[in-house]
Amino acid sequence: MCLGVPGRIISISENNTAVVDVNANQIEISIVLTPDAQMGQWVLVHAGFAMQIMDENEAEESLALMLELQKIRETFSYEQ
């Protein structure tokens, strides 16, 4: 039930509504909980609301972190 799906904002209209593209479906949502959301950004959509603006750089960073972790793990395995 806490399911959230990423959608990209393709238009923003007055009174805090926006249309997002979720897997090629266009749905109208409220952005009242993410007032800073901009056209083109990815947001996490839940129950007809954008709940958070997603950060693509963070996704990259997450991969970098994974690689970093791998290095740390290697150090650990050598120690053992």
Binding site: C2, G4, S30, M51, E58, A59, S62, L67, Q70, R73
Partner: protein, 360 residues
């Protein structure tokens, strides 16, 4: 993506080298589903256990509360609007679906805003939205109440059964019968609440808490981040799911929660009464509170005969340990909510691992 695949294989290999016995609870029903689907549980060495937790909002709704809703829907002029997940949850005498079959006006909506619109379209009816869900969902319901006030819609009401996750985690960590060494924390609840509540938990109980995303690689990485903390003999709260979860959470959503709701004691299936774990509509918005508008009976929880959902929700047993699992209880004929809800542990296990038992 191939790169990711290689990294995933490395991650699995790395996890398999772990020798300590560690049980991690995946708190969230969406994780339970994702983990069951990925088969990750089977790839882990025997000493690392993944236990399903209380994070399925439909499943933890108390039986008495479900029975009260079933009584409510028979009131005249009432339309009950609900998320679809609630329709088949068995009450003591019937489910919402059966009540609808007998003539109650119950409509499934995707968003609480649809229910506000419905109220504005049917000014002579009273539309009650059934507020189920954790911190992910409660702000959307709060925002719908604020929108109803702004639109001067006066026939929209909410029956709030919303619950807060951290107080339930506190109960899990404090219960000597539940062996959980670390938490895979819910990605989407954490969008709203951020890292701080887990910092307190990690510190107080000295157990690692990692907010994790829902892709296979997210989950593996979350597990590794927990294992690393064990190697370092530390217990921190960390975010793996960085592309969506910010350290502070979503302050706008938090302020909606503060304005529209107040914290109250509430009862959970499996976990009992937990202080400060429920959200009731605040006095400021009491004209939208279905409890003030309608007589909502206070009904005792009558356990469903033979169903072990309560123990499953607290990680005490695995769905495979329930004697009814797969035989008398299956998705076509669900006996308890853990088999009804898509993200219920019984439904997830039935769909992806119907035969094997993981927790001995």
């Amino acid at each position: 993506m191939n790169n990711n695949k290689a990294i995933m294989q490395d991650m699995i290999r790395e996890i398999q080298t772990e020798t300590q016995s560690i049980s991690m609870m995946e708190v969230c029903g969406t994780h339970t589903m994702a983990i069951a689907k990925s088969g990750i549980r089977d790839l882990l060495p025997d000493n690392i256990k993944l236990i399903s937790g209380p994070g399925c909002p439909v499943c933890v709704t108390a039986q008495g509360d479900i029975d009260a809703v079933i009584e409510l829907v028979n009131q005249q002029d009432l339309i009950l609007a609900t998320f679809g997940d609630m329709m088949r949850v068995p009450g003591t005498s019937s489910s919402l679906q059966e009540a609808r079959g007998k003539g109650a006006d119950i409509r499934v909506v995707y968003s609480p805003m649809d229910a506000v619109e419905m109220a504005s379209n049917y000014p002579t009816r009273k539309v009650v939205f059934l507020g189920i869900g954790f911190e992910t969902t409660a702000p959307t319901v709060g925002a719908s109440i604020e929108a109803a006030r702004a639109m001067q819609v006066k026939n929209y009401f909410v029956l709030s059964l919303h619950k807060l996750v951290p107080p339930a985690l506190e109960v899990i960590f404090s219960d000597p019968d539940i062996k959980v060494d670390a938490l895979i924390c819910p990605g989407h609840v954490s969008l709203v609440i951020g890292l701080n509540p887990y910092r307190e938990l990690a510190e107080k109980y000295h157990k690692p808490c990692v907010i994790t995303g829902f892709d296979d690689e997210d989950i593996l990485q979350g597990i590794l981040m927990i294992l690393l903390q064990f190697k370092q003999n530390q217990a921190r709260a960390e975010i793996q799911y960085r592309r969506a979860v910010k350290e502070k959470g979503n302050p706008v959503a938090q302020s909606v929660l503060k304005r529209v709701f107040k914290e109250v004691d509430t009862r959970w299936r499996g976990l009992g009464q937990i202080p400060g774990s429920g959200l009731e509509i605040s006095d400021e918005y009491s004209d939208y509170n279905a409890r003030y508008k309608f007589a909502i009976p206070d009904i005792e929880d009558i356990p469903i005969k033979g169903c072990s959902c309560g123990e499953i929700l607290t990680g005490k047993i695995s769905p495979h340990d329930c004697p009814l699992f797969g035989s008398a209880c299956n998705p076509l004929n669900p006996i308890g909510p853990c088999m009804v809800s898509h993200e219920g542990a019984c439904a997830a296990y039935y769909r992806y691992t119907p035969l094997r038992g993981e927790i001995e």
